[in-house]
Amino acid sequence: MNRAPVMPLPVFVRACCLASAVLVATTSGCRRSEVAVAAAASAPAPSVFHADYVRPAPVGAPVEGRPWIAQVTTVDLDGDGLVDILACEAQKNQIVWLRQTARGKFEEQILAADIAGPVHVEAVDIDGDGDLDLLVASMGQVFPTNEKLGSVIILENDGHQHFTKHIIADHVARVTDVRAGDFNRDGKPDLAVALFGYDQGEIRWMENLGDWQFRSHNLLNLSGAINVLIADFNGDGAPDIAAVVAQQWEEIHLFQNDGSGNFTDKVIYGSTNEDFGSSGISLCDLNRDGRPDILYTNGDGFDYAEPGARPWHGVQWLENLGHGFFKYHRIGNLPGAYSPVGVDLDGDGAIDVVAVSGFNDWKNPQSASLMVFQNDGRMNFSPHLLAHAPTHLMTLAAGDLDGSGRPVLITGGFHAYGPWDRMSRVSVWRRAAAAPDTGKK
């Protein structure tokens, strides 16, 4: 009998393996080309941003010693049509006003020099007399302590930018933020207050009883409150409060207001990483759907270890889905990220996100101190370095300082630790003249 030749087993197996290898290779090749095509299709257009897109210029008093600018904000304080800058100098216990006297010219005035550790100032007409008063959060001492050194202060404006100090709350846990909103709809602005404390802290709202009298209502008893934001987050017509608490909690809470000053607490974001480093939140309707979203940075690196960055530091946003629901989205990495600001920096119609770094590896000259996350209009963000120096930037604001419709960035340097070679106090960042335009405005 003639038997059909039988392929020896090793040969058969090798053939099988070869076939499978060919199959794998073919499939992987397919995958590679698909990926390549997909990557080519989604390749972003070249960005207008580069490391010299905006350039800093110091404004106000020169750097003397080691500045501790804890916050900058923009406002036309004297109503002359020119946007000014307010800043907190936490080491010198000062609230300073960088008044824009003519386009691009700033004169610095000290509005208060006896507020211990001021870290937030907000201009709002509290007494309804038509001028802007100043809400001030005073930590008492910026560095960690359990002492109740905090206070809530209102600087009452006499209409000519002369201010009278009213201490609204004193001997409380260190205060980091104060904002105004009419929570009980009685026509008088109330206050939302973040008390960081250290081991003990709090979120409260303070009911405006008139005549500079306020009654406190406790909202949350956790340490580490950094910022409070006021907006109608759930779309029911009443102003709500969002707050971020750091320390070991690392949470963002939404206090939903029933319109009469009764709040319901809800955690809308949290991290179980007790070293997450929450460093700030800000309001921004990033996707322009009419609902206020929350920009959020985690970059605090000044706790128990030598100051520095963590690999998870970065920028994110909480998309407001309505009715008190939010969805977390990571925007990008930025070691030591602080002070997120939503602004259409390149004028392409989409809101970009800019943030500073307070705790980067400053011994490395390539570490970023200012970054923009460019929005492609579909909430896809690409990171772009804007500056390596000055370093230790803890606060950022954006405003139309020039009346040109183009945003100008304002930063503050907080130099509590070294190196001390690239220091700044208050800087304004304008677009470099040679920067190309997107032409899409």
């Binding site: 087993l9 058969f12 393996c17 499978s20 010693g65 080491q91 949290g270 179980t272 998870w312």
Partner: protein, 477 residues
């Protein structure tokens, strides 16, 4: 020739073919499995700037991935521990499919995702871990904590209770229950849970600080004060031990991260725990001044002064322009009572860092300790000028001026300091004493009242009361 029966031939051929098919299938499956493990290997990121031991360990693990499943787990943890989020996630997700019964992979993936803020994605992994390892209490704690942060308080309570069912004295579970009770306004429940937590771990600072808040809310001010003091004494918040994630420290080759890991231990005075990461950091970067400083402080904490001195002196030599290094070193000289060496070190530091308030202040203290108050004055003035927010230099300057009979200067500094920090008890006490000395009963009385309200030390207040009585013949207010 005897004919072979066809049925036997068919049977034999069938057996042979069956065996062949079986072998081929087995080999094919093995090849597929090997290919799957190989494909699970994450693409290697640019590791050029990383230390050789790390690169070597990554390369060795990569080489073994297709024949040693353990290697993929090693690779995942190497990337995880050194901040390579995407690579670690890729490897963990592959391990979930390839090694589905191992609870460490969902646990570590959850830890990774949560550390980067992606808690909603971590939650299913936490649930999976609890399912695979129901007796591993850290997983249950992470699940309960995650549920709190994902605004699922009822489920969180159930998860904390499930954890207490297996570890009845778990202080972190009690802390979690307490914060939920506090949030719901159930103060008595919160208090009970916190007391249970403290009964298990009396140095649990987070429980003490939350209990201080509860006592405050209940109007028990004295109890709150005691809890605040215990919270401070307890040191920094400590996460619950989690052996599976804690083991990641052994995979870390990032010097700064090793320093941060060690700092987490030293912040709660667990000195010995800080030694392994710091020793590894030192082996990776032998000239890193920060590691020397940290290690020196650890030995200082352990009371091993010669070793501490050696390390801190090396730190100063490595980074002579860093004032913090001199300030660390002064603690060693002080502990060894070697004041001359301390003075010499501070003089060197001031020569290189003349604008550092801390160095001026420490130097002034050293001069005062050697009875050289006149020389201390300019350094106290410099410390005050350079760090106006810190009141201690001003306090010591005032008392030094008084000691040197420079009353006018003392009064001027005191007045300025009190205006800047009107609630600082030492300023109020010194100002009250000065008013008594000047015969100003009204001013002194007002300052004594303020000093008491600001929480001045009882001994100082008693001294003031006695001085007031002696000078004015009536009791202090």
């Amino acid at each position: 020739m005897k004919r072979v029966r066809p049925s036997l031939v068919f049977a034999l051929v069938g057996v042979v073919l069956g065996a062949l098919v079986f072998i081929v299938q087995a080999r094919w499956r093995a090849e597929q499995a090997r290919a799957a493990w190989f494909a699970a290997r994450p693409a290697r990121p640019d590791l050029a700037a990383w230390p050789e031991p790390f690169r070597g360990r990554v390369a060795a693990a990569e080489a073994r991935v297709d024949r040693d499943p353990v290697a993929l787990g090693e690779l995942a943890r190497l990337y995880h521990a050194n901040g390579f989020l995407a690579e670690a996630e890729h490897a963990y997700r592959a391990l979930l499919a390839l090694d589905p019964d191992e609870p460490r992979w969902p646990h570590l993936l959850a830890a990774l995702l949560a550390s980067y803020g992606r808690l909603d994605e971590a939650l299913p992994q936490l649930r999976k871990t609890v399912e695979l390892a129901p007796g591993y209490s850290p997983a249950r704690l992470h699940l309960a904590d995650a549920l709190v942060k994902l605004n699922q308080p009822d489920e969180a309570v159930a998860a904390y209770r499930a954890l207490l069912a297996i570890t009845p004295r778990n202080p972190h579970a009690q802390l979690g229950l307490a914060r939920l009770a506090l949030g719901a306004g159930h103060l008595a429940d919160a208090r009970e849970a916190l007391q249970k937590a403290i009964a298990t771990d009396e140095k649990f600072s987070a429980a003490h600080s939350l209990l201080a808040t509860v006592e405050e809310r209940l109007g028990h001010e004295e109890a709150a004060k005691a809890e605040r003091a215990s919270a401070t004494a307890g040191g920094r918040f400590r996460e619950a031990p989690d052996p599976w994630t804690d083991a990641l420290n052994g995979f870390c080759y990032d010097v700064y991260r090793l320093q941060v890991i060690a700092a987490g231990s030293t912040a709660s005075r667990r000195w010995r725990e800080a030694l392994p990461p710091l020793e590894r950091a030192l082996s990776l970067a032998p000239d890193n001044a920060g590691t020397h400083r940290q290690l020196g402080k650890v030995f200082l904490g352990l009371g091993e002064f010669p070793r501490a001195r050696e390390l801190l002196e090396r730190a100063v030599a490595l980074e002579p322009r860093n004032p913090a290094a001199y300030l660390d070193l002064i603690s060693v000289y002080r502990a060894a009572n070697d004041l001359p060496a301390g003075l010499r070190s501070l003089e060197s530091g001031l020569a290189l860092c003349p604008e550092d308030a801390g160095l001026h202040y420490e130097y002034a203290l050293a001069l005062l300790a050697t009875r050289r108050p006149e020389e201390a004055v300019p350094h106290l003035e410099a410390a005050r000028r350079l760090s106006p927010e810190k009141p201690l230099a001003a306090r010591d300057l005032v008392s030094t001026y008084f000691r040197l009979n420079r009353e006018r200067e003392a009064a001027a500094v005191l007045e300025e300091s009190l205006a800047q920090q009107p609630e600082f008890p030492p300023f109020l006490v010194m100002a009250a004493r000065y008013r008594i000395m000047k015969g100003d009963a009204t001013g002194a009385a007002s300052l004594i009242v303020r000093a008491r309200a600001a929480g001045a030390v009882p001994g100082d207040l008693a001294g003031l009361a006695g001085d007031f009585q002696r000078h004015f013949g009536r009791p202090a207010p």
